[in-house]
Subunit: 100 residues, 7 copies
């Protein structure tokens, strides 16, 4: 590209308390003007916390802003799992070799 490329999609692993619920966390993340959509899936539930995968799409996602919103909601980013940077989105790849 040769210039600062936009981050279009980020997948985060987020540990959160039960409140605010994932509707409110999703809405809070969408408050950021760079964010277009948020998908949240809960994959484990504990007495006090929920482990979630949060997928964010946007024009150019600003990680520091995202981190601030997550923090402000009492949650914490465990890891950044995936990113999509650049002009289009998911790059196709040749299928895995099956070695039955």
């Amino acid at each position: 590209m040769g210039k600062r490329a936009p981050v279009k999609i980020v997948v985060l692993d987020v540990l959160k308390p039960h409140e605010p619920n994932i509707l409110d966390l999703g809405r809070a993340l969408c408050q950021d003007s760079n964010v277009l959509d948020v998908n949240v899936s809960v994959y484990a539930v504990d007495e006090k916390t929920e482990s979630t995968k949060v997928t964010i799409s946007g024009k150019d996602i600003d990680f520091d802003q995202i981190k601030k919103i997550v923090d402000d909601n009492g949650a914490v980013i465990h890891s950044i799992d995936k990113v999509v940077v650049g002009k289009k989105e998911i790059i196709p790849v040749p299928p895995e070799v099956s070695l039955k």
Copy 2:
């Protein structure tokens, strides 16, 4: 987005008595003016109860309204499993790395 983003899809885990049946529960949830469609799948059946996944799509889903309808039908929301918030719907992500 920078303004209050709409919640487009919610997946709930709902425990319900056998009556009302899932046709009637689906119809009751569709009474809410924000709801467009409801899909219900039963995944476990007990003597007195059924465990179900209830997927709701709408223009901007109001969780409190949904919870009230579920309660009024003698059922209970066990957990909120997934949400889709914002402009479009499901965000594509790069495929999982296979580590055969």
Copy 3:
């Protein structure tokens, strides 16, 4: 929706005798004026009975009518497995989190 929402698809678990066969049961269910299509799959066979999944699509499915036709054919509805209610049909959801 705010008005009585139509039930578009129902999946039933039906236990039936060998006769009438599933072609005739499917045709009988299609006699109901609200029914558009019926798919039947047999998943277990016994000396005297067959366990089947019956999927019905229609403009607004009337469960009592369906139950009556099933009864009239000597079969019994074991459970209602899935329903689709409202304006469109299958709601897409974010994919399951893989926890390899």
Copy 4:
């Protein structure tokens, strides 16, 4: 539908001798004027017999005609596995709940 609904697709489990082969059995079934297409897959082979799945599509499949053609070719219908009856064909259903 409210009138006699057409059977569009039938899947049969058929046990057959090695001769006639599945090309000839497929052609024989297509002789029936209600039949449009036949797919045959062999899933087990014995010294004298082959176990096959025979999928038939048509405008309105007449089971008695199909059974007669199968019999005339020295084969036998073990079971009727699936049928599609009505206006359109395969009805989509909400995906299975995954309970990892």
Copy 5:
């Protein structure tokens, strides 16, 4: 159909010597004027032989011609695995019932 229906696709299990290779066997089968395309996949290799699946599409496949070409190349047809006969091609069927 009511007249002699065309065989559009045949899948064969073919045991062959290493020579001619599968490019040459594929080309030889395409010499037949009824054949449009040939796909060959090797699924097991021995010191002197290869086990292959040979998929053939055509306007109306003549099995005796196919068998002659296979024989002329020093190979042997172990079994006929699948056929597609008639007007269109692969018939869709309702999905398998999952019995987790």
Copy 6:
């Protein structure tokens, strides 16, 4: 077809040294004027070698040319795994019978 049919796709199992890398091997294979595209996937790595699947598409692939290029790059063709010969490309087949 009745004339010499073109080989459109070939899948090879190729054992290669670490150098040249797979970008350079892919480029070398594309030097052949019959070749349109090359996909290479590494499926096993050793101290001195890499096991790869090399998929080649072209107007009419000349195996002897391909073999020469592989040899000139210090690699060796272990086996020819798949070929697509003729007019169109991948032939659809009826799905496998599931025998749960």
Copy 7:
């Protein structure tokens, strides 16, 4: 092709320190004028490092440039896993033979 063919897609296995994060590594790789898009997926996390798959698409990817950017970010290329070279992209292949 008969001339120097372009490398359109490369998949790399990259070991990196936690900083810079994968958003910054993706942006750095997109600085290269031949690169169009970058997808990064983390598949293992250690105290000091992350194992990642980095997929790069471009008009004609220059491996030496990519390697330099990876090095400059304190990371190391473990292996080159896949490449797509030539005119179009992913070549379809006949499906694997299932040997249940």
